[in-house]
Amino acid sequence: MNKYIIEKIVFWVFRLMTLLVVGILVWILGFIAYHGIQVLSWDFLTKMPEEGMTKGGIFPAIVGTVCLMVGSMIFAFPIGVMSAIYLNEFLGEGKIKSLINLMTDNLAGIPSIVFGLFGMALFVNKLHFGDSIVAGSLTLGLLVLPIIIRTTETALKSIDDTYRHASYALGASKLYTIKNVVLPMAMPNVITGLILGMGRVSGETAPILFTAAAYFLPQLPDSIYDQVMALPYHLYVLATSGTDIETARPMAYGTALVLILFVLFCNLAANFIRSIKN
């Protein structure tokens, strides 16, 4: 057979396989959207769950997830950015830098359930935070720390050295240069990291199972030492262990859709910020 005919066949097979991969994504999103949109309403977003979580809304879960997103970022964002600044601007190539890089990569690769175990042992029990927003936020913060560090590092690396040198030539100190020249320029990409981190946090279930998430709470949390409901855990509960799984199914579709919208929004926002910068 002619090699160009083989090529045509192979390329078509590849094209179909790629289409299938995209098709799976469209299928998942379409499926959730189609079923979820039927329960999505203002009431669904702003009401408490009712009748054993088969009716009503998911307001406390949304509030809980937002709490965890904000809480983890309060912790992870400053530390991640500072860490990246030190790694990129102060630390020269060497053993220490490669050790820190290795450890950051390792942290990124640890399964999320292990973070859950660790958070439970350290924050919940050793530090006596109990199942709470603080414990969950700290656990999730450690989980997204590598993402923040890596995106910030990339952002700092993309700033040309001429800007730094120009600032030094004007007599500015290194710290002053970083604060007033390098960081402002890198900011859009640093913010991208923040948003991607928030997207990741909003969808994580395993780390909050034993550190923050509650099965059901009749009221909103009123301190950072309270347990919270969270969207991903709420979806898990509705899908597998609710009082009446079949009647709760529409609620589960709605929750899944809201959760996907959270993640989608974060991804789109990150892409948008990246695109206006370029």
């Binding site: 090529e7 390329f11 991969v21 500072m82 640890i110 999320s112 991804n267």
Partner: protein, 395 residues
């Protein structure tokens, strides 16, 4: 002067921040392993219970596995477990009222020890588990020592009954096999699609379209695992149930399919990067020799990108092994060793997620789950170190 110290302080603060990831890894190691190793100092017999036999019985020590088998009536003679030639009898403590009246046992059950002594003297070949509180002055018999949980036992025992009383069994072999099976299935499903998609994106597709496909693949990576699990539960599981005519659709296959979808973005992104990194001069050399584009890809580009593809595979496996929620929701979670993809399985992360909430803090079961966590941790470290090593040796 003060300004200078202030600057120094700020730099010190930055330096401390950069240490956080390293410190976290060390803390994770300390906490996971302190609980995980303590597990091996436990006995698997419930606290407050003792195994007793007649004084004349030569048995001194029994392992948890053998004890469980004894009470499962898998042995009929003492010599099978290292004792004498006599036949083995079991007294279940809850059957005691069948042999003795309430009066004989005492109003406060203070005479139970005497009853057991009496029973053992009549049945010298009997073995029983009794609450330690009954071992008082009226009791005469021998307490059998229960060997603590052994490293080798844990990895070879096929039974996981962490809450069974009075003897719990902690065999993690079913979970290890389950995890490997599901991940293996996932990677076998994902690799052809991942590589095909990466080749198509990097070599064949017009760059105009690639611009759209890349964020799409990233989006696939962004979908939370619990959503994948939910999708698997309401879509994939019923399909598997109908296609294979099964009673339950929650199987290893369902887990593999969902994990394959989840591993795709990792495989595609890294493979595509590897293919993009192949220098154009190599492609041009091949094309100028008259090779077709496909021949160039197959014989020149792919071998060149081999290391990257291996890295992609390893990271994909890593992602699959550590995945918790999706697998927990679709694989059925029964802790038996599966012999096909159409059986329910239970993975290590799913076990931790499902059981930690119910395990009493600091108990043997709790520690056993931390041991599972240690295994996962070591595995992910191994994968990261391997990837790090290969990528460094390439540079």
């Amino acid at each position: 002067m003060i300004k200078k110290y202030f600057e120094k302080l700020q730099i010190a603060l930055l330096a401390i921040s950069s240490m956080i990831t390293t410190v976290t890894i060390f803390l994770i190691v300390i906490f996971l392993f302190s609980y995980g190793i303590k597990f091996f100092t436990n006995s698997s017999i419930e606290k407050g219970y003792d195994i007793v036999v007649h004084e004349s019985n030569p048995i001194q020590k029994l392992s948890p596995v053998i004890l469980q088998q004894i009470f499962d009536q898998e042995y009929t003679f003492w010599h099978e477990v290292g004792g004498n030639q006599d036949s083995l009898e079991i007294l279940h403590f809850e059957d005691l009222p069948n042999y003795y009246t309430e009066e004989q046992m005492g109003a406060e059950f203070e005479l139970v020890g005497a009853c057991i002594t009496d029973y053992l003297s009549k049945h010298p070949n009997a073995i029983t588990i009794i609450p330690s509180i009954n071992i008082n002055s009226s009791f005469k018999g021998k307490i059998v020592e229960v060997a603590s949980i052994k490293f080798a036992d844990v990895f070879t025992t096929q039974k996981w009954f962490p809450t069974s009383k009075p003897i719990a069994l902690f065999g993690i072999l079913p979970m290890i096999i389950g995890t490997l099976l599901v991940s293996f299935g996932a990677i076998v499903l994902a690799l052809p699609f991942g590589i095909a998609c990466a080749i198509y994106m990097a070599e064949i597709m017009k760059s105009k379209w690639r611009k759209y496909l890349k964020p799409t693949i990233e989006l696939l990576a962004g979908i939370p695992s619990v959503v994948y699990g939910f999708f698997g539960l309401v879509v994939i599981v019923p399909i598997i149930k109908n296609v294979f005519q099964l009673e339950v659709g929650e199987t290893a296959l369902a887990g593999s399919i969902i994990l394959a979808i989840m591993a795709l973005p990792t495989i595609i992104t890294i493979t595509e990067d590897a293919i993009q990194n192949v220098p154009n001069s190599v492609r041009e050399a091949s094309l100028s020799l008259g090779a077709s584009k496909w021949q160039t890809i197959l014989y020149v580009v792919l071998p060149f990108a081999k290391n990257g593809i291996i890295t992609a595979t390893v990271l994909g496996i890593g992602r699959a092994i550590g995945e918790t929620m999706a697998v927990l929701m679709v694989t059925g979670n029964s802790a038996i060793i599966p012999n096909s993809f159409l059986q329910p399985v239970r993975t290590i992360p799913a076990t931790i997620a499902a059981e930690l909430g119910e395990a009493p803090f600091g108990g043997t079961h709790f520690q056993a789950l931390f041991t599972l966590g240690c295994i996962l941790f070591l595995f992910s470290m191994g994968i990261n170190l391997y990837v790090n090593y290969t990528s460094r040796s390439k540079n």
